[in-house]
Symmetry: C2
Subunit: 726 residues, 2 copies
């Protein structure tokens, strides 16, 4: 009783009549706004299969989704793309709370950028309920809105001790989310932390899954993670809740990328063995290995003390940070006990201080650990310095060899690779065009020539302006993809604009500006103009903004005229302002503070402000805000270096009452700046042990530094000398 | 050399070849994304005309606009609809700053709801530059985004002393904008306040032009306003800047609507004669007649002292407030001088205190003014009490007659009417369906039945739920038009919802909820859920939200679970919560504080919270915020009456640190409430002489009232008794 179905009605009919052994085949083409309920009962010998006419030629688009509800059902070959689910789940292993699936299989399916365009709207892409389900060889890439990509739900008894198998899936890039809720896989929740899930996660490839701290958030008992590869993922495999986890034979490849981490241990009876780590740079909660402090008598949803942990036979090559008793604070005061760290290898070609111990480590036994010669002996016993060399094995891994190493380090042949995961018939290449990767388009001066050129531009193109000429805009230039605007020649081209903004970065856009003067003389006589802004609607694609060697002047026609203005639900990977001049401005240079819900969200990851002069600015040079107490994210990272601020922040509408106002920023490097006749620097330091270095700054005739909050900081070489440019 | 053009290329060719006397005719149909530049030179005897094949059958849609550039050009019959201009002006009388039009005419054109969907994005619909242009018989309705509807620009010498004539236009409804920038007509700006414009504004009909305080903002010298009708317009014809204005023979009809006003006098040598006012209720700056205090030696952009004003032969019938020396404060300390108010008639059928004098009125001579018998003698001289009766004249106006009235009151036959303005071929009816005006649709309980019913609903429909039954939502119900949801019968139907919101009001939608229980038990385990929210994108249509006799409970799955959440760039005409119960909630009931730019914008006009109980609410019951110092708006108006607040506001994430937090609210009536074990009431009183009555409230075991700011207030009968429900 099988055949090709062409409509949702035919599908529903086929499903309702289906018998064990049937194959229901979706016809080639686009299935738009199609919500499939695959509710049927197969048998172990004769499952019922839902598949497609030809792999790669059947797509579910628009407001589509799939519920699998029954026994012995197989779903194979579906692609979800160009849309998002109107419900909470793209693919769900249940019909309703009490109608779950067992013994079903989801295989060779694709979910590609099927993200709700509203960044802060939550959903899951795959939600696994019931028991004995297998999720394998799926290709899952580009989740950009709030919510874990794949979850195992333990809501009801029917979903516990489930023995699911999640294997050979390709988890493609997930960009930095800038808030909690960017995990790639979560098993359980804090509400069922004491339940066992017994889920096996094996041979999956995690490719740049950078949503947040927790690549995987393990929140239930007796799960196993084997032979998975984590390629350039920021964050860690985190044993957030639940006991008796097995983490065995996984590979973590950092390639020196920032915030890449390994395994983070919390709770009881955790086993971490035979894992291989290379080039991981993360620190604190995203170290190459992290063993946390717990909360004494912790409720299940806080931090249960590490007890009976076994950490053995793991290899760390050029990994920068091993963090023990991490998170130690007034609440998390219980260090690990009855645990052992043995037979591990720590090699680093240059760094010597690999280990940070935040509290009493006497509850951990160290034995037979080997380090390369240059590594400091932070922990007195259980470590041996040895001459180690690295030898590439057949699989291409650099393997440490040494007389001190008794057992040869091997990587399982079952280890996940980009090739042996996901499907063969769907490309794993995701290479969006970068800024400056395209052709150069020369544009004549005149009215709206910069606006008109956008239509013919392609991602990565460079728009070249003529030196010294004037470009007039009566329309806001919407930036739909990465574009650079630069003056060819020394004398800056001048941009005048009549709308409330000259440029608007839209979802998918990035912008680089070089050697251009922006003059606000023609802007409308209304409060709230800006030179560059983001879309006022949600942007799920992170953007980049580079301003280099530009001039911004005469932004004074009315009050609150900012240089850069961002909106809620937008996120900059990088916002860089360098070698530029700002003069005579009624608003702020940039206020990155539109996430006011205080749930941990913020507006930019890396903020770089270097070698600029700011003169006669009524607002602040920078406001950077990260509210809430969540610890799931890394940033913002801030660098403010070699700037001169002259008469900045004194406007009566500057509600930050500072020249630079920072709140909850995680890395603060503020160095070599001159503040002259300027409001001060305010820093509110909370959450996440921020790095704060305020060095070599001159505050002349200015307000000074006002630090609040409960975190440590370093302020050195604060001068109050008249600068020589006076 | 005339003919029908079918494409923009044909149009451009026709224009470039055009000779005096030519008629260029746009072919019937939709002209999409069409930017017309009508640049040509006609002569006085032989103008060049741009018109349409058939009136009403040619529409410019999408990103279209028109620039008129030249001499003796006539534009006739164009309709702009279904779109918005990408530039700052839909119709402009110039090509560029220095290429303006003279002796041109714009007639019988329509601009209908051609608003930028981004509420805070500024544009003008008609911008008049050059000299001797006539703008007549146009139909202009529904501007909803930031920016004046029609301006006369005096930017350059070529546009001054312009002798434009603006006549017989129909200015249709413009809804409350909730910010500065909602004027219908502005002549000049503060930058050219001392220039003469010499513009004649005659016989125009202003129909519910309610954008803001200034229906018309006169900002230049020697303009004349004659025979215009202002029908139910909130605000006033304001002589904001510029001298020697003539306001003669206009009619203001309030029909008792709130905030309706007349003429507001500022500056020198202003003449206000022969105007007729009826049923105006506005006070302060929107009184039926307002004469303001000035700033001594005022810069042109502040308030120039009233000097040499002549106010004569005006009639006021049932107008509630005549305001003299209005705005008197530390800065505005110069009362009117050398002025006279004579021969005016003030009749009121019930109110006796019509006149408010805020400062020394000795600089104004009062003579021969007549009041009805019941009116108080606030000003000692120049007023005579008389027996007055009202007689309807042939035009339908109620005319006061009395022995004391020497000259019969007449209304000019040239007075604007709905019929003699605009065009005959385009309907002036704008009657959007109101809540509860449609049919009733009964909906069965079940999963998404409330979601599915929306598709078949029409504006004004009532969705009826079965008593005591459960309605489960796995999707957010988007409300595209006014809809009511109510339980039929006594026992409330229950709504459970799995998405982050149960209902989302979209642009064009309004929502009324009656007799329904909302239970948060199935909502996602993420921070930031809400029961009802507005669109997260800009909404240009104001909305209404009524909650009556509903129950909200168990909003606790995670933190910051609000009942109502609004977004920036949304505006509620009315938000009413009455007779409802709220219990066990981790967020706020409603925070109306998303306009954080402090330019005067806010999120709701009328907020009514009456007869509710709030129990165990971690956030605030209400946060209502209006930032900035702008005086262009009326609201927010707030009424909080007969509520019980029990354990409200104590959550550690309640950043308002209050049970009720108000900032910049213009009318605050807080009466007969019980606060029990609850955070306090915070009020920051700034701008606009707010009305503040806090009467008969009981604060038991609660924080009290914290008032900041610089405005007056009344707090009476504040008790601290144990309420009897304990
Ligand atoms: Ca997390
Ligand atoms: Ca205004």
């Amino acid at each position: 009783n099988s055949g090709v179905v062409k409509t949702i009605d035919e599908f529903n009919q086929a499903v309702s009549k289906s018998q064990p052994g049937d194959v229901i085949t979706l016809a080639n083409g686009v299935w738009k706004n199609t919500e499939l309920l695959f509710e049927a009962k197969g048998t172990a010998e004769n499952p019922i299969t839902l598949t497609v006419e030809e792999k790669g030629k059947v797509t579910l688009e628009g407001a589509s989704n799939l519920r699998i509800a029954g026994e012995y059902l197989v779903v194979k070959g579906l692609i979800f793309v160009n849309g998002y689910t109107p419900t909470n789940e793209v693919i769900s292993f249940r019909k309703s709370e009490n109608e779950v699936s067992n013994n079903c299989r989801l295989t060779e399916c694709v979910i590609d950028n099927y993200s709700n365009p509203q960044r802060d709207e939550q959903d899951y892409w795959i939600a696994i309920y019931g028991k004995n389900n297998r999720i394998d060889h799926n290709h899952i890439v580009g989740k950009k809105n709030l919510g874990v990509t794949m979850i195992v739900g333990l809501d009801t008894e029917d979903s516990r001790a489930n023995h699911h198998q999640i294997d050979h899936n390709y988890f493609g890039p997930r960009p930095t989310f800038g808030n909690n809720g960017g995990e790639t896989l979560r098993i359980g929740t804090s509400h069922n932390a004491l339940e066992n899930s017994n889920t096996l996660v094996e041979s999956n490839y995690f490719d740049r899954c950078n949503g947040e701290h927790e690549i995987i958030s393990n929140k239930s008992g007796q799960n196993t993670f084997k032979y998975n590869t984590f390629f350039e993922c920021t964050g860690t495999l985190t044993m957030r809740h639940g006991n008796e986890t097995m983490v065995d034979g996984n590979v973590f490849i950092g390639n020196g990328k920032p915030s890449t981490g390994g395994v983070r241990v919390i709770n009881e009876k955790q086993t971490v063995i035979n894992n291989y780590h290379i080039g991981l740079t993360g620190y604190r909660f995203r170290g190459a290995f992290v063993m946390m402090n717990g909360v004494p008598n912790s409720p299940p949803n806080r931090y249960v003390q590490v007890t009976d942990a076994l950490v053995k036979n793991n290899t760390f090559i050029n990994c920068d940070n091993i963090q023990l008793c991490a998170g130690s604070d007034a609440e998390r005061s219980a260090p690990p006990v009855n645990s052992s760290i043995t037979d591990n290898i720590f090699y680093h070609e240059s760094k010597s201080n690999l280990f940070t111990v935040y509290d009493d480590i006497s509850g951990v036994t160290f034995k037979n650990n080997i380090t390369s010669k240059n590594v400091d002996k932070t922990i007195p016993n259980g470590f041996e310095n040895a001459e180690i060399k690295l030898v590439k094995n057949e699989q291409g891994f650099l393997i440490p060899e040494s007389n001190a190493i008794k057992t040869k380090i091997t990587i399982s042949p079952n280890i996940a690779t980009k090739e042996n995961t996901g499907v063969s018939w769907y490309s794993k290449d995701v290479n969006p065009a970068a800024l400056n990767s395209g052709k150069t388009i020369k544009v004549k001066p005149g009215i709206n020539t910069l606006y008109d050129v956008i239509k013919t531009s392609e991602a990565g193109d460079v728009i070249a302006l003529e030196a010294g000429e004037t470009y007039w805009l009566t329309k806001t230039v919407a930036i739909p993809h990465p574009l650079t605007f630069k003056t060819l020649g020394d004398k800056e081209a001048i941009v005048l604009f009549e709308k409330m903004a000259a440029f608007e970065i839209q979802n998918g856009g990035s912008l680089s500006l070089e050697g251009i003067t922006f003059d606000g003389a023609q802007s409308p006589d209304y409060a709230g103009n800006t030179v560059i802004r983001t879309s006022k609607n949600s942007m799920i694609d992170n953007y980049k903004l580079f301003i280099d060697n530009c001039t911004f002047k005469n932004l004074v026609v009315n009050h609150s005229f900012d240089v850069v203005k961002v909106s809620k639900n937008t996120f900059a990977d990088t916002l860089s302002i360098q070698n530029s001049r700002f003069e005579n401005i009624t608003g702020h240079i940039v206020a990155l503070d539109k996430e006011t819900d205080d749930v941990g969200a913020y507006n930019a990851e890396y903020v770089i402000i270097k070698n600029n002069s700011f003169k006669d600015v009524q607002g602040a040079a920078l406001r950077l805000y990260r509210g809430g107490t969540d610890e799931s994210t890394f940033g913002p990272f801030l660098e403010i270096d070699h700037n001169v601020l002259d008469n900045v922040g004194h406007g009566k509408r500057n509600k930050y009452n500072a020249a630079i106002s920072l709140y909850g920023v995680q890395v603060n490097e503020i160095q070599n700046n001159i503040f002259q006749n300027t409001k001060g620097l305010k820093m509110h330091l909370v959450v996440g042990e921020p790095i704060v270095k305020v060095l070599n700054n001159n505050f002349f005739n200015s307000e000074l530094i006002d630090v609040t909050g409960d975190q440590k900081y370093t302020i050195e070489n604060l001068w109050k000398e008249a600068p020589s440019f006076l």
